[in-house]
Symmetry: C2
Subunit: 195 residues, 2 copies
DNA sequence: TTAATATTGTAGTATTCGATAAAAAAATAA
DNA sequence: TTATTTTTTTATCGAATACTACAATATTAA
């Protein structure tokens, strides 16, 4: 039982609205005025619940990774490395092509280049992208240990290649690429898979 | 012989300074105060010479394509499609690894996602990326006509794949990728080349 | 010398940015 | 009821934003 006046909004729902805005317009391109309007709350409520713009973005980023971007850890659960890679592309395409989502990946669209005030957010996104790549790399290392991939395969290099294609597809999505086009890219990319 | 007081700055040199700033910090992340400081001129001079922020960005973009990004049309002059693709990656890596340049490609870093005021610039960059892809596609179509590529090859799909890897490498560069890492990516990407 | 022209330097404009102070409102605890 | 606690509402705050008016300056043309 809380003590004072109860909140009139659902923080998770408000966070979802903030996530969509950051995703579509990037960190710098999203103003607090636009955020409060989309979240349906006023500024003091936002600051009381989420701290400031930067901490709100971090919360939205956590939520992004937990819900729409969970396709990545899920894909890595596939029984073989090759199927994991295929599912990685499929998941990325499905997420981007979801009409309820903005185009591309928040880890890329959020802040690639930025002014002085957003450098810390840019760095955070860079770390998260590196974490995604590392997760793929570990899955491929496991595949080598299991004999699923060749002993001499370069897990780090292959992971870097796969995730680079995912980031590239995120850029393509920002240009309005269609599902078929992204699927073609994934198919061609998979033809580089080591025999 | 001009009529009034002569300018005290070199417009091309000032434009180069503006290009570097837009490239490093993106369109929205670059303020006019930062621009005038880096260009070594004051605001009325900037507006007299370049119009406004948007037209200045377009001028910088033209300069970018003519000089540092000329590696793309140059690569397409290679005698075979495969060597053109290899040179495309090599040129992209060389440009990104030039210590005098910011990381990545201006067509990607300039504005992937943006607020309302930068939407027209975002759209322009999207068109330029599409133009780059179209140039690669036309080169591959020529290769098919010349018998350099298989008759049934998908020029549009292959071009889209190649340029997607270039955009992905631009994202990787923003994360501090090394030359060796980018070269590994290019080598792996080339192993998808049709036999 | 004088008039005309273009650039430079100073000092602004109105607006938007992220962030808050203070009081009113709505709940629980005593 | 009364006191306490928390949120909401309203009204800002100072700083930064893109942009410009105006006068001083430096050149060429007459």
């Amino acid at each position: 039982m809380p003590r004072g006046r109860p909140r009139e909004f659902d923080p998770d729902q408000a966070l979802d609205a903030a996530l969509l805005l950051f995703w579509r317009h990037g960190y710098e391109g999203t103003s607090l005025a636009a955020l409060t309007q989309a979240m349906g709350i006023n500024m003091p409520s936002l600051y009381a619940a989420f701290g400031n713009k930067e901490t709100l973005f971090r919360r939205a980023l956590d939520r992004y990774l937990q819900r729409p971007a969970s396709y990545l850890p899920n894909a890595l659960k596939e029984p073989t490395a090759r199927r994991a890679a295929e599912q990685l592309f499929r998941g990325a395409i499905d997420m981007t092509m979801n009409p309820r989502h903005p185009d591309g990946c928040l880890l890329v669209q959020g802040a690639l280049a930025s002014g002085p005030t957003a450098q810390v957010v840019r760095k955070e996104l860079s770390l998260r992208r590196a974490a995604a790549e590392a997760a793929v790399r570990r899955r491929l290392e496991r595949a080598i240990a299991e004999g699923d991939l060749a002993e001499g395969a370069d897990a780090a290099g292959l992971a870097r290649y796969l995730i680079t294609v995912v980031w590239g597809m995120s850029v393509q999505a920002a240009g309005g690429a269609s599902r078929n086009q992204l699927e073609d890219i994934a198919r061609t990319a998979m033809s580089a898979w080591p025999t």
